[in-house]
Symmetry: D2
Subunit: 487 residues, 4 copies
């Protein structure tokens, strides 16, 4: 899949470390792959919070100056990707507000499927909204003055939420981590010295030298404060539905998520793929780096030697000036260059992790063909993506998903390859150590694990996603007048 | 006074002009002197609002790119100065929010003396606050769902406000201008083509070629929409208390405010000053440009010839690198250089508009003495500033006001001048065409025109201002827990 | 004239001061009006030179970082304006090179009329040129290996130069100041502690607190090194021809140049103007700030009261975004706003220092008329500018000089004023204390003080200036193939 | 070796293409790995040259604006790395000058060992130098007026040069490519449409879709002008000495240099390494990406399975803010993270291309050990680097080369590995298809292929390199007074 899909959000929080802000900065840095659009940190010195957020990547948003202005031994941070429409700095997380009982900040990974409903209700009671993101709803709920203690309001608030949510909540003197009962998105716990760390992926713990303790459990609320870490489980028991796409593409291969090494799962996917779609060939190559692990597995299972058929240019940044002609293909070329001596005259198995729109894949395969490959056998280490994700993965709209609108043979023909093999859903689930039942595969199967409750819900949801799919540069969807749309 | 005090806010709004955003940008540009800290614009295309705000001056905050992203024929803009503590981009105006009946944006010039009280009440009912500025309170009040029509809520909201407020309120399809019943801050109405303009000062109309229509009256609410401009007056009748300091220092000399030409008022102040504090001298010079108009009046009344004794370097910007030694005096020198041939051996009358801390004034007078002046007679075209302003002027704290802590003779001695004359309050009020009773002179007299209602009010107010006076770089005051302080 | 013409260059050098680099930075800052296009400093620590130059104004080119990288107690600096064609960083001064006897840096104010001839000769002997500026020729001459001691080469080099040149030359351990024998451009000497300063104008000495010693004399070479300051006069005696335009427009009013206070000379110009062109009127106003001194003189001589009829917006920077329509006039409006109450119904004398193209002047007068002036009498404190300057002032080409192509009546009509009066050449020269014979008035009279030697010279010179007048954005003139043009 | 050594220069030129400037920009982009310090382009439209150079990477130096200002269908570009001392924009290439016969620009990859000698001679004849780079010497030689035709001067100039030089020379209407007779550095020829391309590596041709034609031969001068491409060979026959380090580390794996695929050579190096240093182990891993090809070869030859034991973070940029403690190791961690599940409890063969200082390698190995590796066997696909390179590779000084100062056992102990194996020189040369005799191995063997002529030469050379090794931030070496040093 390479760069076609983009990830949603990364979370990182620290409790009780003198260098909490800088550790959070580093943690975000290693979660950069989960969101390049905006980044932010809120810190607390026990009494007062300071905040800095901005558009761009972590190293763009933060400078030594603005990092120094964030003080305290507690901090939470967020990296974010979102569709263009709401790409504005107001929407950068963590959000931080003042309310009757003090200050609170929040960072969210996932998607609330009842956010619009909750928002409408809150607005009907006089709430005003300064952003268009789900998390602001959570803050309004938490601030309800009827709750005496914060914790009471917390439980009540969380049980109103529906959807995918890994959350970090910062109080002046406490750090709270939440994972929804389905366990859609990952969140893990680490220790560093006397302090605690919460992170979306374990690779962020590695970077700062923190020890991995365990994952936050699905449905668990972890409260870390002066009295240490304690855990509450306010949600009713729910079947698990981990996002399989974290293993397929999102998470970094050096992370452990949902209890397994991402690299090892991906290698298993490659092995399954070799069993399901064997072929006579001379060489197996990966689309670097997204296909690396699966290509290794395919080669090991099939016995066809692995080679480096494409190199990747690491200098590619965002500010690249294009030549006058040849738009799209060029972006591929500047990033990937085939190694002619590996490909010329060969029957080549090309392994990648997924295909979304198909355009980028096609361009890469074209350059492999131009480098002299005699046969190309495309192998994809997940099933065809046919359905939108309502739980936090930013796929393009249905119409843009090539597997939603084209048959396998049409895709093969479009990619101009000699054969095409996708891993089956069964194969996919086998690769995760037989715990297949714990995973959400809605983007492949269309079976959404979460009860939508009523048709209204789903309608609102689709409206929300439709709204997001407006063209770049246009104003964000106007969520403020939902009544008219709902009739 | 030169640069010691800094102005609060400038407002500019356009209704129904195809180039509304760019006109607003230009309007803000000509109101830059009212606030250099942050700037912002919210535009509406009739259905949707777009917003851009940022820290810095107008030409720094806006680029051709971000201006183009603001679309519509309605817009309001804001330039802002504030004390350091709350210098953060969250506090930049206009604020814009979504609520149950749509979107609304607001820009505020002035200061609400009951903002903290209102905020506490709102928080007690569950409101959450993302900024520390007064105007957010207004938005929460406007959003109260009990109001059926927006206009009903508007009147109800405005009558809850206490203090100085010129406001611009933007709806999707309407522009509203408000001036508090005391008329503390200016606001005027202009026409350009088929469109309407609202601006803090008339100089902003001149720049864009708009025709001056009239000022918004004290206590008037001007609603501009499809049906044209209509006016409501929801406030009880109140004695006027225009801010005299707008004439003394704030407003641009080419503006008309409170019905009079600022330049002409300042020249009259100079004439009054010559009558109250005559002196034998060879030459009258101004501290440029703040003392220009008054020096002209002094020279005309006294018959002592005017000359250019100090030149001003227009290149001075904010990024100037200082030499290793000689901090404060140097800043004066780089900006103002005496003309030795005008001063050497002369008895010099030096005219400026005001003295706040006295340090800058002293440094300038020192350089005049070093250029050879035989005698220096300092003349100030307003009375000694002895009291804080609670209505929107950002004076330093009481202790820093030289006239609060020193006698006139002590000030004269500190400035090292042969004589020192301040204009009297009576002289000041005479200069405004005999309408002296309509002006607030609290910073000179300590007589605050607005009823504080209870001691509690004033206590909260002083707390608020005390809070603002924290040292640069420290976190903003924590307004979220007022209960503890009030006991 | 306001902003139409732009000045050429400012020079500043320091010998033997621990803070030499920072003083030079400050000196350049106060000479910013002599050139906004590029700036640069070369420093020497006695053995090694370090250099930083860049495009832009002094505060843009220098940062605390790059200033710190310049080390030593000797430094020279340069600010520069030039026509667009050669606006490239390669041409930023000071130039610095290595040659057989060490390093040398140079900064130049003026224009060599035989630069192309010398360049052709040098290229014919194998020299290569990396810039298109005159000063590189000087460096090549200085480097001639036939000179045993640097000083011998210096005298020989300088006597080959023809034209206007105030020069600063930096060696590892010496600072040299040169003024051409005609004394076209100013250069003065100051002392600060144990150190020496050389500067284009005395205002730069004021800023850093240096004492004015004297001007470098026309034809004098001042060598400052370990043994102190010594002076040689290698040039044959020549009649003086100071640039009168330094007094009329270029120099800062707080400077002393050619032995006289610039402000006082300008006031005398205003007095002369009142005598030559009296008029019945109600008020005298200046175009700020260029006409301030002359307007004061006009008012004093005529008895017509001075007033402030136009205010200037000090915030105008370079990055201003224009509205969609109304290009040129707008630039005037954003910078200058008339004060209606001063002008309405009045007969107004408007005083400015000069008129170049006439377009800006016309726009300003138009806004004065629109503010209600009943009559406008334009008074210009110098004669009509009809001829190009070959000695360092960057006037536009002949065709663009309004007084070259239009009669006085045509100009009056173009400006739409009731009367127009220029100061006469005789009046101009009287204002400089009867030393009129010492001044160059070529831009008014067409009488060029410097012998061109042969028609060839003048031809080359005009070619050079023609070359400079190419449109912005086009490549610089190709000086590399002069042979073809000379036939 | 990863990032320890940094490459010198990349060259790219285009003759006769309407989009020459943009193609050159792209070409430089794909040669970014050969130099990240500065970049530049000179273009010619047949008559006039335009130039833009700057410090930084290609995408930092060029903007759409400055690219558009470069016009013409001929262009040459350069990317550069150099030691800190001469990191100044004056030294950015291509250089461009005017001389008696027009303009000429030059871009250089390599190092002239007699540059200082030539410079001294030229200065003695009056030449002045504005940079401290070798190529300026070439320009002075080319400009010698005794040469009637440019081509005559070209041949004469080139035969005076001693050392490593691949050159691009641009005239108004011609593009010239030169490779020194030893063939130290690569240079190849491509075609695109009607145009010609010259590039350091073939990967740059791939990016722009140009066809690879052939390499410029060692000692060949290729002149491309209106009459097409012609070739002259002005140098006496010399044994070849291609830089083996281009294959080991410098060149991109997808390039063909010196007639062979870089990836394939590197894989062969890995195979040779497996034969020379076999070991019992469970897994082979590469230091990504520098060790990828060799690790593949090692695995294939040894039969030990390859796995992905380290992942690389592609987001690492230059502006990364470090945590307060743990400097060096941290830089490694942020870029590379071990995959615990691959390494824990395993006997691991780690393959990298080279070891320079050893510090980075040590840190990486440490993190592999911490991830649980039971045994670590370090394998390096080239011999120990013990000697400086005088032909254009920027190794650190002798003292910093770990293999120069430590025995193999000491290195093994420092790296804390169970075994350490370097490839032998013989193995190295075998991997390049038996053409070992054509390669320079001086950095391994100390046998410098180029006759230094006299001890003086070498002395000067070492002085030059010693000079370059001064600490960052200090002034560049003073080349201007060589006489004193030479005594």
């Amino acid at each position: 899949m390479g760069d076609e899909a983009r990830e949603h959000c990364g979370l990182f929080g620290v409790y009780n470390h003198p260098d909490a802000v800088r550790l959070t900065y580093l943690g975000l840095f290693s979660l950069q792959h989960r969101g390049e659009e905006s980044a932010g940190i809120v810190a607390s010195d026990g009494r007062t919070m300071t905040r800095h957020v901005g558009m761009g990547m972590v190293h763009e948003v933060f400078t030594p100056e603005n990092l120094s202005a964030l003080t305290g031994s507690l901090a939470i941070g967020h990296t974010r990707y979102s569709t263009t429409g709401s790409s504005r700095v107001q929407n950068a997380q963590p959000l931080q507000v003042d309310f009757s009982r003090g200050s609170v900040a929040i960072a969210h990974n996932g998607n609330l499927i009842n956010a619009l409903l909750l928002r409408d209700e809150l607005e009907a009671h006089g709430s005003i909204f300064q952003t268009t993101i789900d998390s602001e709803v959570v803050l309004h709920l938490l601030a309800d003055p009827r709750y005496g203690r914060f914790e009471a309001g917390l439980v009540d608030t969380l049980t109103q939420l529906k959807g995918a949510f890994s959350l970090l909540i910062l109080r002046e003197d406490a750090l709270i981590g939440v994972r929804d009962p389905n366990g859609f998105r990952p969140l893990c716990i680490g220790r560093i010295g006397e302090g605690w760390v919460l992170a979306s992926e374990s690779c962020a713990l590695d970077l700062i030298g923190a020890q991995f303790v365990r994952e936050v459990e699905p449905g668990e609320v972890v409260i870390i404060d002066r009295s240490g870490l304690r855990s509450i489980k306010p949600f009713p028991k729910t079947p698990l539905s981990h996002c399989i796409f974290e293993h397929v593409y999102f998470a970094r291969p050096d992370s452990v998520v949902f209890g397994e090494s991402v690299h090892q799962v991906r290698r298993s996917l490659g092995r399954m793929l070799a069993r399901e779609h064997p072929v006579e060939a001379d060489v197996v190559i990966a689309i670097p780096d997204s296909g690396n692990s699966a290509a290794l597995g395919y080669s090991q299972e099939s016995g066809i030697p692995l080679d480096i058929g494409i190199t990747r240019n690491h200098y590619v940044g965002r500010t690249f000036i294009q030549p006058r002609q040849r738009a799209r293909d060029f972006q591929v070329r500047v990033k990937f260059n085939p190694v002619r001596s590996v490909l010329a005259g060969k029957r080549v198995v090309v392994v990648d992790d997924s295909i979304v729109r198909g355009t980028t894949c096609r361009a890469r395969l074209k350059s492999i063909r131009e480098a002299g490959a005699k046969e190309i056998h495309m192998r994809v280490s997940c099933p065809p993506i046919r359905h939108p994700c309502f739980y936090g993965i930013d796929f393009p709209t249905r119409k843009e998903l090539i597997a939603n609108t084209h048959s396998l043979e049409e895709i093969r023909s479009y990619l101009e390859v000699d054969s095409l093999g996708y891993l089956s859903i069964e194969g996919l689930l086998k690769a995760v150590n037989g715990r297949g039942g714990d995973y959400c595969t809605a983007c492949y199967s269309g079976k959404y694990p979460l009860d939508f409750g009523s048709e209204a819900d789903k309608y609102i949801l689709e409206r929300k996603f439709a709204g997001e799919a407006h063209p770049p540069g246009t104003p964000p969807p106007d969520y403020s007048k939902p009544a008219k749309l709902r009739t």
